[in-house]
Amino acid sequence: MKAPSVTVISRMAEGAGIALDSLRSNKVRAALTILGVAIGVTVVIAMASAITGINRSITGILESAGPKTFFVQRYFSGGLEISDGSDELSPWRRMPEITVDEAELIRRLPAVRDVNVGEYTEGPVSYGGTNLSEVKVAGFSWTWPQVNGGDILAGRNFTAIEYAAGAYVAVINDKLASSFFPGVDPIGKRIKIYGLPFEVVGMHAEAASLFSDADEPRLAIPHTTFRKVADYWPGWMEIAVVPTESATIAEAQDQVTAALRIRRGLHPGDENNFSLVTSERVLDAFNKITAGFFIAMISLSSVGLMVGGVGVVAIMMISVTERTREIGVRKALGATRGEIMFQFLVEAATLTLVGCLVGMALGAGVAWGVRTFTPVPASVPLLAVVAAVIASILTGILFGLYPANKASKLDPVEALRYE
């Protein structure tokens, strides 16, 4: 008796072979046919790669800050929001600022190992004749290297005493060091921040990531000093909290929440007037934003696939007409309707699959470009590859159905007589 599984494979090989043959012999026609599919797949692969890259670098930032680190913020929107300045659209107005006292309160909680307050701005920094007008200046607690990660390459961090005293000391990053002190040891040098003299006590290097570009010049000074000298937007200090080894994030968050509610005099039933932001919440927010990109991506690529599908219908109708006689011969030799149909569906799916491969190559090229020329570590996700292959094969089959059905219904006598 028959062994269908084996012959299915050989028939698929035959159909694919015929399709590739006709691609070779009609290059322009074939190129136009697969163009739509190729564009659709290029868009999917390129965008999916970019989003994967951004996602990875965000995860990387959050993990470099420690997987258990969370942030106490005045307000976390969890997505994109637009404000016209009214109270309804500016919910942070009802939220009090986070204070340094609250940070000290949190530092003393049993489930908390470390805290770091953080406030940021950009300002002028100069050394000798070199002036940089927009250096990122951060005001931190003395504990910041333990909380934020990275390495002190030379010198030291500022001390708790320097912090308490509001000393004029700075830890600069390697980029700023190479701008001011190429080939010279920066430790002990005096630089000017907002025109005031600071001593460089250390040089710090952070891991490259999307939002804190290692190529940017930046420096950290004690938060107490920051408040005295910096020109900044007040009211948005945040606290990074690292739980102890033995405590879970949930335990630490519960203690922080309870401590802040008591200190702020909230009654049971009142909502928290502060936000705790974990890595997961940041990722959630990011995913909400990227969902929009995904929808745009899917609609763009569907248009591509539709255009490709119409091309498939056209080329397959031509193929069926050109090969009417061949269909007659195949039927005379014993091909059933299903077998004829299968052959043409394989042919159609091969066309779209070739388009898909071209698109994947282009998309991977775009991903490579993004990875090489931007800090986003774009990489092609396997899921997007699988989805693109399946979607393009399905497109081929769906749009191949009409011509394949037409071929399968040809009358063998008529088909054999066709000139």
Partner: protein, 232 residues
């Protein structure tokens, strides 16, 4: 022993708009195993219709057709396809080889539809090509072969499934006389080897080589005689 082909009052009617055309009107015929038979007739006699019905490419509108013990005149399209695959080997006037496929692949095709596995398929196709003297042209495409060689490939393709009947429609119509002679010798040899051969032709020279000649006229059997002078 019962006949390989048993046809009773076979009729085929076509409708062209309001007009009804009776291409066959009540043909009764028995064909036995290992017969070598020619169906002749002028154009319009119904011999193409007869060939399509015998080859299970078409179904009759009246009468019965028993092929190898099975009533095939009422089968569905797909069942007819299976019967064609198993019972009938076609040889066409214009060869009808797939232009992009090699000789071997062309001959393999009926075995593909019969569900024969790859290795056995290649072996049987190669053997069939050997049988028609084309064992050395297996990897050639039809465009690289002469007319006679193409028809030999087509005969190998018709034989490869070991069908009950070899059904040839004007097999020498596109060939010169020398090549025609070669091809007819192939048919004669196959018949000598036990193959049932039915040839549809309008050429008396060709019919003269067979052992039995059925002449159709106006959709009916005009004469059915044994050809005593046939070269064995």
């Amino acid at each position: 022993m019962s006949a390989l082909i048993r046809i009773r009052d076979l009729g085929r009617e076509y409708r062209m708009g309001d007009e009804r055309i009776l291409a066959l009107r009540g043909v009764t015929l028995d064909i036995h195993r290992n017969e070598y038979l020619a169906i002749m007739g002028p154009s319009g006699s119904g011999k193409s219709t007869m060939m399509n019905l015998l080859g299970c490419l078409d179904t009759p509108t009246a009468g019965e057709y028993w092929l190898n013990g099975e009533e095939v005149s009422r089968l569905t399209d797909d069942a007819l396809a299976r019967v064609r695959n198993r019972e009938i080997g076609f040889v066409f006037q214009t060869f009808n080889l797939l232009p992009r496929a090699t000789s071997l692949h062309n001959v393999e095709l009926p075995l593909v539809y019969a569900g024969v596995r790859g290795r056995e398929r290649r072996e049987r196709a190669a053997a069939a090509l050997d049988q028609v003297g084309l064992g050395h042209r297996m990897d050639h495409r039809p465009s690289e072969l002469s007319g006679g060689q193409r028809q030999r490939v087509a005969i190998a393709r018709a034989l490869v499934n070991q069908p009950s009947i070899l059904l040839a429609d004007e097999p020498t119509g596109n060939l010169d006389s020398v090549t025609s002679d070669e091809i007819m010798r192939v048919f004669t040899q196959l018949h000598a080897g036990g193959q049932t051969v039915i040839m549809v032709t309008h050429e008396p020279d060709i019919a003269a080589r067979t052992e039995r000649v059925v002449v159709l006229r106006d959709g009916q059997v005009e004469s059915d005689r044994v050809n005593r002078g046939a070269a064995a």
